[in-house]
């Protein structure tokens, strides 16, 4: 079972859109996939039309893997399940802090799912916190969307430094340019140059397209409701890179 986390210190960069579309493509490829919505904003749950509610909240979930198993919902897509968010996830840092070895807790909770899933996507809230450290310790690959600006590239460097500073298990980073506005010269330039300069940046960039925003209206992955669109094709190219990297 491979664990992929869509994560960035910065918010609003296309993490959830990537997690939702990539998990849909992974399931369509025949993998058994779980997407875990760890963000209390519950955007991934909303996009899959699943109510953001977990019995017992985040505390029950962190306590034991049985609760986690019971909380999982099937999506409308074959092979793709979702662990919905819950509003109490805003306190996951505090809940984790109350456990033994909090940064290893998530990895331990996910371990029993190995028999049921080939791939787990963790859709994480932004920021650097105890939860993000637990996510980084659990993940095999961190998918980091970056908006091609100088500041965002700096954020990627910060993330890389943070991961390099972790003891023990360190995930691989695969960043990708996201929300590219083709009218902006700087966006185009960075999106072209960055993958050539850095091995940890995917060749595929995800453009800023209104169809991706339409996901919130259609409440489905763009790869499902407009599979031939440019947006879906971009995610398919990204998925091919992710799959090759995740092995």
């Amino acid at each position: 079972m491979k664990i992929l986390a869509t994560y960035n210190i910065k918010g609003g960069v296309g993490k959830t859109a990537a997690a939702v579309n990539l998990s849909h493509l992974a399931a369509a490829d025949g993998l058994r996939v779980l997407i875990a919505d760890l963000d209390p904003q519950a955007a991934a749950s909303f996009l899959f039309r699943v109510r953001p509610r977990v019995k017992g909240g985040g505390a029950a979930l962190i306590r034991g893997s049985r609760e986690l198993d019971k909380a999982i919902k099937g999506t409308d897509f074959d092979g793709l399940d979702l662990l919905p968010a819950d509003f109490t996830f805003r306190n996951l840092d505090l809940i984790l802090d109350d456990t033994k070895k909090p940064t290893q807790r998530l990895a331990r909770l996910l371990r029993p799912l190995r028999a049921s899933y080939d791939m787990v996507f963790l859709d994480c809230p932004p920021g650097i916190s105890l939860l993000s450290e637990a996510v980084l310790r659990a993940a095999d690959v961190v998918l980091a969307p970056i908006i091609p600006t100088t500041l965002s590239v700096r954020t990627l460097d910060q993330l890389t430094e943070f991961i390099d500073g972790l003891d023990g298990h360190r995930p691989e980073i695969l960043a990708f340019c996201s929300m590219i506005d083709r009218r902006k010269r700087l966006h185009k330039q960075i999106a072209e140059e960055l993958p050539a300069e850095r091995k940890d940046v995917a060749a595929t960039a995800i453009p800023a397209l209104s169809l991706i925003e339409q996901m919130a209206v259609r409440r489905a992955p763009v790869t499902a409701f407009a599979p031939r669109s440019e947006a879906a094709r971009s995610y398919a190219r990204l998925w091919a890179e992710v799959r090759a990297r995740a092995g």
Binding site: R49, I72, G74, D76, G79
Partner: protein, 517 residues
């Protein structure tokens, strides 16, 4: 999607969801067509001993307009699909296209091939049952099945509600609503069961266990006849698969049935009419001997990968000529075995044996089943203890081989009369015996394999064209087998001591004395 939760037969129906059903669901759920009505061929696959069914799984090959698709679904909501890629059945799970479906099946099916259990043509309409968020909480399937195998028959339309994981409660509410509709008959069989029922069959029917229900007070002769008839059924059930060489376990089960029959004839000879056991013992010995060469080669080939992986001084590839030799010899032996199982001699034996068993009647006087079981099992137990105690560190291998045979006789005797005993105590007795049997089995199997490698090496050398690396690798293999053999020999004393300990003996005596209580 998970496995069917609620099935309904749908009298006088067509491919549509009845308006009354839509209306009944309307306050809470909308019925949304998923895709156009399609026609496909469904072939349900399982191993001969129903390993998938027993694990709560259903595997189907579904062929519609496009290429065939394999669909594995489980009662726990599991569903994995994969392209069939032209797989021809029967097939071992290892021959399926690589991916999660193959990974899930390989460990479960082991050496057993997947083969068609039932076939039907199907016209299916699928609908989503959505809540007010537009989220699918269950699938509604309307299906018309035209069974083709095991028998041709048109089945009444079926309506199934399948919950989406995490929405079981809502699916149950939907099912309750449907159950209240006129024209829908709840608790219809799952599709596979319904198709199998056309031929009077049910999933999970085959087992190589001796599952006869005996009563303690029935005449012992009739109890033994029931066991022997059950063994004959198992033997016959495995002839076709052995002749067609579908997988190695058909021969294994056939062979075990023969061995059990021979043991029953030996231990229960006195319960049968005069001369009957003596008449059939040579015939079943012939049959048993016939199966030995192919089975020995099967064991070699089934353990080949593990043996090759454990080589120390040679490379696994060096064993390729040995593997080729084994495969060729197995093909020749299998051919000989198949011819014998198609022969008039075999047919005559089976027909006459069934006739003899069917004709058995209770004698005017004689022991009941519990008395006979106590005598047979008690005697077999005492023999094992006597022969086991006589074994010392200097005993020749033949003594251990003989003891292994006595252990097998005791094991079979326990299995014949299992239904007379307390299940937990019986399981424990078998487990304690099995510990000893495993040790003796490893010891003898290793000896046989070592000796065979020596003989085959000589044959290969005599035939010429064998590279020195292959002979060296075979030597390496034999040396590893020798190590395992010595280890098993070293473990014997403690295994036997555990089996022959006073508490174990007391438990055994208590078990045998408690028949039918």
């Amino acid at each position: 999607m998970s496995a069917d939760l609620h099935n309904f037969t749908y009298m006088n129906g067509d491919q549509q969801v009845p308006a009354a059903v839509r209306e009944a669901l309307a306050p809470l759920y909308s019925v949304v067509p998923f895709r156009r009505t399609r026609t496909c061929r469904r072939t349900w696959l399982d191993t001969f001993d129903w390993r998938l069914h027993r694990a709560g799984l259903t595997l189907e090959s579904v062929t519609g307009r496009g290429p065939a698709e394999l669909v594995l679904s489980g009662t726990a909501g599991e569903r994995i699909t994969a392209a069939a890629n032209g797989t021809r059945w029967p097939a071992l799970a290892g021959a399926l296209p690589s991916g999660p479906l193959r990974d899930r099946l390989e460990g479960l099916t082991e050496f057993r091939a997947l083969l068609p259990a039932a076939k039907a043509a199907s016209t299916v309409s699928e609908f989503r049952l959505c809540n007010d968020d537009g989220k699918t909480v269950a699938w509604l399937t309307v299906e018309q099945l035209h069974a083709a195998t095991p028998a041709a028959a048109d089945l009444p339309p079926r309506l199934s509600v399948t919950p989406v994981r995490g929405y079981q409660g809502q699916a149950e509410r939907i099912a309750r609503c449907l159950a209240a509709q006129p024209g829908l008959l709840p608790d219809g069989l799952p599709a596979l069961d319904a198709v199998l029922a056309t031929g009077g069959l049910a999933p999970g029917e085959y087992t190589n266990k001796i599952d006869v229900e005996l009563s303690a007070t029935m005449p012992a002769r009739l109890a033994l006849a029931a066991v022997l008839l059950r063994l004959l059924d198992t033997l016959e059930a495995n002839v076709g698969g052995t002749v067609r060489d579908i997988d190695t376990e058909f021969l294994h089960d056939l062979r075990v049935s023969v061995r059990r029959t021979r043991t029953a004839l030996k231990l229960g000879a006195g319960l049968l009419p005069d001369g009957l056991a003596a008449q059939y013992q040579p015939a079943f010995k012939w049959l048993g001997d016939l199966t030995t060469p192919t089975r020995d080669l099967d064991v070699h080939l089934l353990t080949f990968g593990a043996g090759a992986a454990g080589l120390t001084s040679a490379r696994p590839d060096d064993l390729a000529p040995f593997h080729r030799y084994l495969t060729q010899r197995r093909a020749a032996e299998q051919d000989r075995l198949a011819r014998a199982l198609r022969s008039a001699r075999f047919t005559a034996l089976i027909t006459a044996w069934r006739g003899a068993l069917d004709g058995l009647t209770a004698p005017r006087q004689g022991p009941d089943a519990a008395q006979a079981a106590a005598k047979i099992i008690g005697r077999a137990h005492r023999r094992v203890l006597r022969q086991g105690r006589a074994i010392t560190a200097d005993s020749p291998p033949e003594d251990l081989h003989d003891l292994r045979k006595r252990c097998k006789e005791l094991r079979y005797a326990l299995e014949f009369f299992a239904s007379l005993y307390d299940p937990a105590a019986h399981r424990r007795a078998v487990r304690e015996l099995k510990g000893l049997q495993d040790c003796l089995g490893t010891y003898q199997d290793c000896q046989v394999q070592e000796e065979e490698i020596r003989v085959i090496a000589t044959e290969m050398l005599a035939a010429g064209d064998v590279p020195a690396t292959a002979l060296l690798a075979m030597g390496d293999l034999a040396s590893h087998i020798g190590q395992r053999e010595r280890q098993a020999r070293g473990e014997f004393a403690s295994r036997f001591a555990a089996f022959a300990s006073r508490p174990a003996r007391q438990r055994f005596r208590a078990l045998v004395a408690g028949a039918g209580s």
